[in-house]
């Protein structure tokens, strides 16, 4: 009697897995596709757990693509694109929705010092959903049974008492015990917390505002990435097909509140102002936007008129065209921060992408760093498996950490310094950075070197 009672309360024995990936973002899906694409790794029992709704929206995106561009857009470097091709996912991208561009114009909002980079396909702009849905299609095409559990939250992670493997308790009542847990689970990574890995860094006290917009039709322009460094943070307009563009405007928390509260047409006017008008006028316009939002569009209009009248046609080519349309409800904001985990690997755990590091979006490197992590981790898992190692052990995973940490660390540092150098209007610093940029812009081999590094 009592025995029978016990047997009904006892939890179901956990399922066994070789690899469990937490997170169905670009990093998690790329890792899943790469594992199933690898002849060495494809036979592993691999599962992906995602808290949100994944398969439904991604399948819908593929079958009935929305007419407007969605607002989460990422910049892909050539090496990311070539890796996605290598694992067979790039074939599934809806190419009419991506834009590659070979020209970036970046200029100093205070001094006007300008640098432009040219290089064959410097970067490719792609919607997050487009990328994710391509990866899902690739996983389905490979047909190796990879279980994707979406709408499933990880409620707890505990180490098994006997063999120490992580046991994930899921919101659907199931539990999985896994040889290796890969956290592609973002900044607040539960996998990182389970492994007790410390992550260090700081908030930038800046928010990034994104939106999808369209330039006025008319004049032909080559696809160009525009980035103006204001003392409050850079404002960037990155190209999408057909004169569409995606905005990333990093600014102070106060400014971001004011800008997010504006009506969409007034917000559009403010963006037009932000890429052209002098810093002092912008500060004034922000004040107007806060106190008398109803007149801000007119304020911007006559100031821009004045500004444009003074430009020669040649000078006008150095600024983006006027923005005309904003996609309804495409505005969003997120806090900017730098973080770097002390290690990416512990016994039974590896961290990938934002779970291991987050960066300021000014260089568009965040997602690309995660893609490079995936490539490295997959290579390390292949080697370790061929050497007969237990792929969950730190011994097997260490080369991944030693390969990726230094590269990521350098990039995080460079981006951080760029943010710091540009978030001031102190005269000596403005002079120094403008002098530097002018020199850079006129010494071809230094610039070529930088273009080459950006593409990596």
């Amino acid at each position: 009697m009592s025995l029978r009672f016990l047997s009904t309360v006892r939890a179901k024995a956990p399922q066994l897995a070789d690899i469990v990936i937490i997170g169905g973002g670009p990093a998690g899906l790329t890792l899943a596709a790469a594992i199933k694409n690898s002849p060495t790794l494809s036979s592993l029992n691999c599962k992906l757990v995602e808290g949100g709704n994944l398969i439904g929206p991604l399948t819908k995106f593929k079958q009935e693509p929305p007419s407007n561009f969605t607002n989460r857009v990422v910049s892909l470097t050539p090496s990311t694109v070539s890796y996605l091709s290598e694992i067979g996912a790039w074939n599934h991208i809806q190419e009419e929705r991506v834009e590659s561009y070979d020209n970036i114009v970046a200029w100093d909002g205070v001094s006007g010092a300008k640098i432009d980079f040219d290089g064959p396909s410097l970067a490719t702009m792609c919607e997050n959903l487009n990328l994710q849905s391509a990866l899902l299609s690739r996983i389905e095409e490979l047909g190796q049974d990879l279980e994707i559990l979406d709408n499933t939250k990880v409620e707890s992670i505990q180490a098994d008492e006997k063999i120490g493997w992580p046991v994930l308790q899921l919101s659907n009542g199931e539990s999985i015990q896994t040889r290796l847990l890969v956290g592609c689970d973002g900044f607040n990574s539960p996998a990182r917390k389970f492994a007790q890995i410390e992550s260090r860094g700081w908030m930038y006290n800046r928010w990034g505002i994104v939106a999808t917009m369209k330039f006025k039709d008319g004049e032909f322009r080559h696809p160009t990435g525009w980035q103006r460094f204001l003392p409050t943070g850079p404002v960037a307009l990155l190209p999408l097909p057909d004169n569409w563009t995606t905005l990333v405007w990093s600014t102070t928390p106060e400014n971001s509140d004011i800008l997010m509260k504006l009506d969409e047409d007034k917000f559009l006017a403010m963006v037009n102002a932000a890429v052209k008008l002098p810093v002092e006028e912008l500060e004034y316009l922000i004040k107007v936007a806060a106190s008398k939002p109803e007149i801000v569009a007119e304020e911007v209009a006559w100031r821009l008129q004045l500004f444009n009248d003074k430009l020669s046609p040649e000078e006008a080519g150095g600024y983006p065209l006027e923005l005309e349309t904003i996609v309804t409800k495409s505005r969003g904001k997120f806090p900017l921060k730098l973080s770097h985990a002390d290690t990416y690997v512990e016994e039974r755990v590896a961290l990938v992408g934002d779970a291991a590091h987050t960066t300021h979006p000014l260089a568009g490197q965040g997602l690309n760093m995660g893609q490079a992590d995936v490539k490295s981790l997959v290579g390390v898992l292949e080697t370790s498996l061929e050497r007969g190692l237990d792929i969950g052990t730190k011994m097997a995973l260490e080369p991944y950490f030693s390969e990726r940490y230094p590269a990521n660390h350098v990039l995080l540092g460079v981006v951080d310094k760029l943010h710091k150098i540009y978030s001031t209007d102190a005269a000596p610093l403005v002079f120094a950075r403008s002098f530097g940029v002018n020199v850079l812009n006129n010494v071809p081999f230094v610039k070529d070197f930088m273009v080459a590094r950006m593409g990596e």
């Binding site: 066994l16 002849p39 036979s43 006997k162 063999i163 120490g164 040889r179 498996l385 061929e386 050497r387 007969g388 190692l389 237990d390 052990t393 730190k394 011994m395």
Partner: protein, 288 residues
């Protein structure tokens, strides 16, 4: 007389040394870290030799027979062509590997570092590990239970190679870092060879008896860098690669590969082209 010799193949002091190391055997950051690192190149050496000796044109009907060159196509052919050839060869090897079910004997298995790695290879069916130190065999038995995938594939026994049933033969026999710890290496070699199936492979690794070895394995390894527990090595027990080759000459075995290896701090173990200096690996194949 002969039996007693075999049963004391490892001296009491060696046995005591390894008993003391048993508890830290699987601590990959502890005193055995360098051995764990070495296991990586051991596995590369074993894998490479097994793969190189797969006959990729076996079982392909004559009319479909494709010529896959044995020489390095990258030296003479354009990159894309060479890559295609590589790809075809790798795929064919993988296909043949998938059919294989090898049995392995790991002599001097210690805590089971190599035995476990062998057992995880998909083309290995079973691994028998034997060792003379009761403590390390206990550790090996406990550790294999931590991985459900291999717990049933590996079997450890506390016995010298001479006590294995004479009829028991394996596809792969390994003698890794063992010969420099035994008193009568020739006897151990002969016993190990008797357990290799015709066509099977015997892998061994040990250390050349030269000043370089003394410098790297004893002076630097044990005393200066302290990456190897003091007392692990005895210089007089080192054996030259050439001595093994000579020993093998009239035995029905042939040396199919030998490679030196050396430890580079920050990089780990790497292969060298000089098997006559320092540590080395050898692969022997039973031809008769």
């Amino acid at each position: 007389m002969f039996v007693r010799r075999l049963s004391t193949a490892i001296s009491e002091s060696e046995k005591a040394h390894f008993n003391n190391l048993a508890t830290s055997w699987w601590d990959t950051t502890g005193p055995q870290r360098i051995l764990h690192k070495m296991n990586l190149v051991r596995m590369d050496f074993i894998n490479n030799n097994i793969k190189q000796h797969i006959k990729i044109n076996n079982n392909v009907p004559n009319e479909q027979k494709t010529f896959i060159p044995g020489w390095n196509p990258h030296n003479v052919l354009p990159e894309p062509v060479a890559n295609t050839i590589d790809g075809a060869r790798t795929a064919r090897i993988r296909q043949e590997l998938a059919k294989m079910r090898l049995s392995c004997l790991d002599i001097g298995c210690g805590g089971g570092i190599l035995s476990e790695s062998l057992a995880r290879l998909p083309y290995v069916e079973s691994v028998d590990g034997i060792d003379m130190s009761p403590e390390v065999v206990r550790v090996a038995n406990e550790h294999k239970l931590l991985d459900p995938a291999i717990a049933q594939k590996v079997h450890y026994q506390l016995k010298p190679v001479g006590e294995l049933p004479a009829t028991k033969q394996y596809d792969v026999v390994t003698l890794m870092e063992l010969l420099e710890h035994v008193d009568h290496p020739a006897d151990v070699m002969a016993a190990a060879m008797s357990h290799v199936k015709p066509g099977g492979l015997l892998f061994l690794s040990t250390i050349n008896r030269d000043p370089i070895s003394w410098l790297t394995t004893i002076l630097f390894g044990e005393y200066v860098l302290r990456i190897v527990p003091v007392g692990t090595h005895t210089y007089s027990k080192y054996i030259d690669c050439a001595e093994i080759a000579e020993f093998v000459e009239h035995t029905g075995f042939s040396v199919i590969d030998s490679k030196g290896c050396t430890y580079l701090p920050l990089k780990g173990w790497v292969f060298t082209d000089s098997p006559d200096v320092g540590n080395y690996f050898m692969a022997l194949q039973r031809v008769k």
